[in-house]
């Protein structure tokens, strides 16, 4: 779930050998260990063209326009569900996916709500939307008992007023932040009731004056450099910030928490567009990723959890052992999964978001 304002940057993998066939993959930016791409080409002899995108909206527009030319794409599950409805994907052929048995039933049961029985898509990685903090600065401002694992840290105007001088970033993604505000108010995070959404808007407007910026990727470096105190962001991104700060040894300690009131759990899913030029090659690529060791290599590299049970024995200790990446069962209970919004609710939410951000 990486989002950057820049338009998608294409990173084609150039190969010296001549290949009989090629497969085109469209995935999130910074979302794989690039050595895996070379490994795929060596093992299969298929030329891999690997492009990246930075927002679900960009991918969805390509899918709905049709003729994208990609063989494998990786939308987030709630977007995937709507795209399946629109007829954008072809059913997976499990006879070509020898490693499909590696999937983790815990994740599968959750993704089934979007795509029953994995008919069209199979999980790549998943994570939560939560709160990243600069531990030192936040405890300095709010005291040792600062609620760093609670939504009240970012939704209570009293806390936010004190934190604002130090800097608070929010994701620029209404479908992530408005469910969090609904959860804070004790309402259903997937509410489509306009009154409840308006209440969430009021709650966000109350803390709006103290929000430094809405942005979906800048917070990684801002947290790592110690420029800001708090970011509402995606798990793996905050953990990247934590690692960068540790590497820089700049005295900044970053921590990630999924809020105790409940956090949004998202799933990025591999699927094959209905008009994919090389569906057979697409299955080979998905099967390659589903291999336990390959999947583990990807997770060890990007610090996101995956939906592959068999890969867990190959995961590094600081990945599988970190409850920020693989939450314990108790936390897992509190996580909620988003449902795709109908067109009318989506419009209400987008309009509310414009109002929150620009005041118009």
């Amino acid at each position: 779930m990486k989002m950057m304002m820049a338009t998608a940057v294409a990173t084609g993998i150039l190969a010296s050998a001549t290949f009989a066939e090629e497969v085109r993959v469209y995935n999130w930016s910074d979302y794989i260990d690039e050595e895996l791409l070379t490994k795929f080409e060596e093992e299969t002899g298929i030329k891999l063209i690997y492009d990246v995108f930075d927002s679900n909206e960009v991918l969805e527009t390509k899918m709905l326009a049709g003729g994208s030319g990609y063989d494998v794409v990786v939308p987030t599950a709630d977007f995937l569900q709507r795209q399946i409805q629109a007829g954008a994907f072809q059913p997976l052929d499990y006879s070509q996916l020898s490693n499909a048995g590696n999937q983790w039933d815990v994740i599968q049961s959750r993704t089934d709500t979007y795509d029953p029985n994995g008919e069209h898509a199979i999980n790549y990685m998943w994570g939560t939307t939560g709160i990243g903090v600069n531990v030192g600065k936040v405890t300095e401002i709010l005291g040792a008992d600062a609620p760093i694992n609670s939504l009240s840290l970012v939704m209570d105007p009293a806390n936010m007023e004190m934190l604002s001088a130090c800097g608070v970033y929010f994701l620029d993604a209404p479908t992530e932040v408005i469910p969090a505000a609904l959860t804070y108010l004790g309402l259903n995070p997937n509410s489509t009731d306009p009154d409840e959404i308006a209440q969430a808007g009021e709650a966000l407007l109350a803390v709006r004056p103290f929000i430094t910026k809405f942005h979906s990727s800048e917070y990684i470096s801002a947290l790592a450099n110690g420029d800001i105190c708090v970011a509402v962001g995606w798990s793996g991104d905050v953990l990247q910030a934590r690692d960068r700060a540790a590497e820089a040894d700049n005295g900044v300690e970053v921590a990630y928490n999924a809020p105790k009131e409940g956090a949004l759990m998202w799933f990025d899913m591999m699927a094959i567009p209905v008009d994919a030029p090389n569906p057979e090659g697409a299955h080979k690529f998905i099967d390659f990723i589903l291999d336990a060791q390959n999947m583990a290599a990807a997770s060890n590299y990007v610090y996101f959890a995956n939906g592959n049970k068999a890969s867990q024995e190959f995961l590094a200790e600081d990945v599988i052992g970190d409850t920020a990446i693989y939450p314990d069962d108790e936390t897992l209970e509190t996580l909620y999964t988003p449902v795709p919004l109908d067109a009318k609710t989506q419009r209400t939410v987008t309009r509310l978001w414009t109002k929150i951000k620009s005041g118009t």
């Binding site: 527009t61 709905l64 409805q85 067109a343 989506q346 987008t350 414009t354 951000k357 620009s358």
Partner: protein, 328 residues
């Protein structure tokens, strides 16, 4: 257009020269079929790349949103024959345009875009005109090099140049570092993520589009006109005002259009340099298209934008033609 320096230059002298400078497009009188075929090419180009896309967008603006590929309905089903055509036209309505009037967001965004575009155009003109004038007055052997310097930035991607401005304008950026180092300020100026940064970005990006047409019209000007005006008693300033500027007018008008029109619909610069409170129609359009997935409303926004731009421009051109005719 008024001519004559303090009445000493005969009216028809400079007016005649103005007309001779190619104000009016000469009608093309092709004799051979080959020549005629060549004149058709621009029309085919306009038809295929302007009129047809416009009609498609217009059609989508009358459609309804749908969860499908493409995400709107109705689409023309020729396989259903006459019934298909009837369903197609029956499904079109003005609903999306009515919707645009129901929310003040759209009008505010149009007005704010127009304001940003007008201000940027005026600043670009104020910066570009002296540069173009200086270039046109430079020594003959310098001009190609100066022209090259204006064009040179185009060799780098536009996106990278806007990103470079982010590096210059940010709180820890080069500009603030320099100002703090030189002691002008103690606290960094907040420029990035404000409208000031948007103005800087637009003026910087579109400056060559202002300089080049003005330079082109000034460069062709015979310096003896100004000499004649000065011989007849004009000061340098009034010679510039009465002779040079009117001759640069077509370049100024072209430059203003080249800056103003893309600036109104600008999306990249406000989203990279502007803050969340920068309201521009390009961004509203992006949100309709990508966040709301509502291609029909996005198309309606685009059609209205086109009307806002095209109607005043047509009126302006008529006015121009009419004033030229009265002068003639």
């Amino acid at each position: 257009m008024t001519c004559g320096c303090l009445g000493r230059i005969p009216q028809d002298w400079c007016c005649r020269h103005e007309r001779a400078r190619g104000f009016q497009p000469r009608a093309f009188i092709g004799r051979s079929a080959v020549k005629r075929a060549f004149t058709v090419i621009p029309y085919i180009w306009l038809l295929a790349l302007f009129l047809v896309p416009f009609l498609i967008v217009l059609k989508i603006s009358f459609s309804d949103i749908a969860i499908a590929i493409p995400p709107y309905t109705p689409t023309l089903e020729l396989s259903e024959g006459w019934q298909g055509v009837r369903n197609f036209f029956g499904g079109l309505d003005f609903e999306n345009f009515v919707f645009l009037t129901s929310d003040d967001l759209y009008w505010k965004a149009y007005l704010s875009s127009l304001q940003i575009a007008v201000v940027s155009t005026l600043i670009t003109l104020a910066v570009g005109l002296p540069i173009a004038y200086a270039m046109a007055r430079a020594r003959d052997d310098w001009r190609p090099a100066l022209l090259m310097l204006v064009i040179l930035p185009f060799w780098t991607s536009f996106l990278i140049r806007v990103y470079a401005w982010m590096g210059i304008l940010s709180n820890e950026g080069l500009l603030n570092q320099f100002l703090i180092w030189s002691g002008f300020i103690t606290e960094p100026l907040v420029i990035l993520n404000t409208n000031v940064a948007v103005y800087i970005g637009i003026v910087y990006t579109y400056l060559p589009f202002m300089i080049l047409p003005i330079y082109a019209s000034l460069e062709r000007m015979d310096p003896s006109y100004v000499e004649a005006a000065e011989d007849l008693g004009c000061s340098r300033l009034s010679a510039f005002w009465i002779v040079t500027l009117p001759l640069a007018r077509p370049g100024v008008i072209a430059g203003c259009f080249l800056v103003f029109i893309p600036a109104v619909g600008e999306f990249v610069i406000p989203s990279l340099l502007g803050g969340s409170s920068t309201l521009m129609i390009g961004k509203v359009l992006w949100e309709e298209f990508f966040s709301n997935r509502d291609w029909p409303v996005a198309s309606a926004v685009a059609i209205i934008l086109l009307l806002i731009l095209v109607i005043p421009i047509i009126l302006f051109q008529r006015q121009e033609v009419a004033s030229r005719e009265t002068e003639g």
